[in-house]
Symmetry: C2
Subunit: 318 residues, 2 copies
């Protein structure tokens, strides 16, 4: 049996996850980070993400500096989605034999600049050979128990909020794929994402469930619903689109909301808020948590969810 | 400039390492694990290793179960080399589209069996697509400050000890590369390594500097010398060879000690011991720490060090 027959990445994760035996593990496989108790006031968060050349980035239109930025921002976003801050990073790399030292200097400059933005150190790693550049980043984060936010914390009646505008990364990718010149500002959403870590101070006090937009709004809302045993209704025309996304979609002849819903890699936060905190929201309300298990887009049940790295690559069609 | 001109993997690591700013980081890039202070009695260890199909393993002669075992044992060995035990593991994977669920089930069975052997949980990970199967494993370990062993702890006059027999992994690999039938026991050193974690109780009380044999005895002794600012003398005919290594080398027409010195992936421990503890040693004395900076093999200075994943693959010659 092949992975797509099983149901792709998420079905695979369900299949291989096992219940941890160590009682300090508060959350194992199945959220943006694993959560481990260090003491009564401190939890550690662990996340790991792998980026493969030709799948998550292309050297045709990523500078090595931008690869470094994207690799770090995408991981920092996972720590942010749990309410935490980053303590340390480790970087494992597979590198083609013909890669230049200058390329790697720039790649590391990107990673160190991102690490500096969020005040953490890169403390270890591993390098080896490989046909395609492959980057796996591990981050260790920290959060107090009262600030921890899980996908499982949503309740019926909560509002669903996007911390920032969406769709920019996929719009930028589509411009690259279609070889459309110009539109540099839209392309930058794809090559130089910036996560919502620095907005956490305002978000955490009101957020209940939280997830980051790695795989598109629809997929992240579905993940929250699955872990919280609830349904959701997304209101399409409430979804905030990044500047230029509408124009890009028109140019290409696609639906700009598809970029936000199914594109991914925007690395903003999706979180739920009790209705009484509506006036404290940072971001845009895009829907609400409802009873049941379905994720609705307006009045239609969604059956398609987000970017799946097993079935689509940037070289394929979306 | 290309990496081999720079001087390969170790020169690259020196180039990209920066001093950590967080004072809880006791050791950053430059040992088998990073070391972080958790409290007065507890340190955490972090290690990450990437294995690439065609470089660290071949599906021609590795079962998926064995890939899982090797991926974990090689990482557990890094935690052991610091004197620690493993707490948690995270697994990030790039997988070809056509990989079967049955293959992955077996691969995970191997990883979980290794995790069970050392009593730790796999608590997170990431999966994505890629041309070649690529496995990056992150382990979090724990050690008390009194049990921590670093590469930098060797002193002139120390004896150098190998915790077990060496050369088996490279001998097994050479049999596979030469398409020689039979010799299953020697081949198993390569496909099913077992690290020295379970011998730590006897080793740590007498060990000073410690490293694990990822890249061959010569390379690990060089690493200890570099970090401790000392030299070393290895006595060739004292090096313990795994059963069958001598015969394999004769069959192929190579030097069996080259397998031990430059082969790597034996995942035994190399450690130094003060001479007064000679009678307490677990393993075999293979040399001693001397003044200076050179690593000597008998009376010759060594200029060649171990397996370098940038310049050799299992498809290349050694």
């Amino acid at each position: 049996m092949k992975l797509p027959e099983l149901g792709g990445e998420f079905a695979f994760i369900d299949r291989i996850a096992r219940q941890p035996k160590n009682k300090n593990v508060l959350k194992g496989i199945g959220d943006d980070c694993a959560v481990v108790q260090i003491n009564d006031n401190k939890l550690h968060l662990y996340t790991v993400d792998m980026l493969v050349e030709g799948n998550h980035f292309s050297t045709d239109y990523f500078t090595p500096y931008n690869i470094g930025i994207k690799a770090m921002e995408s991981n920092v976003s996972d720590i942010a989605s749990m309410g935490g801050k980053v303590l340390y990073g480790l970087v494992s790399l597979a590198l083609p034999d013909d890669i230049s030292v200058e390329f790697l200097d720039e790649f590391y400059r990107g990673m160190y600049d991102a690490a500096k933005r969020y005040s953490f150190d890169i403390i270890g790693g591993d390098t080896t050979g490989g046909d395609r550049m492959t980057v796996s980043i591990t981050l260790v984060g920290e959060v107090s128990p009262s600030c921890l936010r899980l996908r499982s914390m949503a309740e019926v009646g909560d509002l669903i909020v996007a911390s920032g505008a969406l769709g920019g990364s996929m719009a930028g990718l589509r411009l690259f794929q279609k070889n459309i010149k110009g539109c540099q500002e839209v392309k930058r959403y794809h090559t130089t994402p910036e996560c919502s870590m620095n907005r956490l101070d305002k978000i955490v006090p009101i957020a209940k469930a939280m997830a980051d937009v790695s795989d598109g709004l629809a997929s992240e809302v579905r993940n929250i619903c699955k872990e919280s045993n609830v349904g959701a209704k997304i209101i399409k025309n409430k979804i905030p689109l990044c500047d230029g996304v509408q124009e890009t979609a028109e140019l290409i002849g696609e639906d700009p909301y598809d970029y936000a819903l199914f594109g991914g890699e925007d690395f903003k936060l999706i979180y739920t808020v009790a209705p009484e905190n509506k006036n404290k929201i940072t971001g845009t309300v895009v829907g609400e948590i409802i009873a049941g298990k379905d994720v609705m887009l307006d009045d239609k049940k969604l059956n398609k969810f987000g970017w799946n790295h097993f079935t689509a690559t940037i070289k394929g069609t979306i």
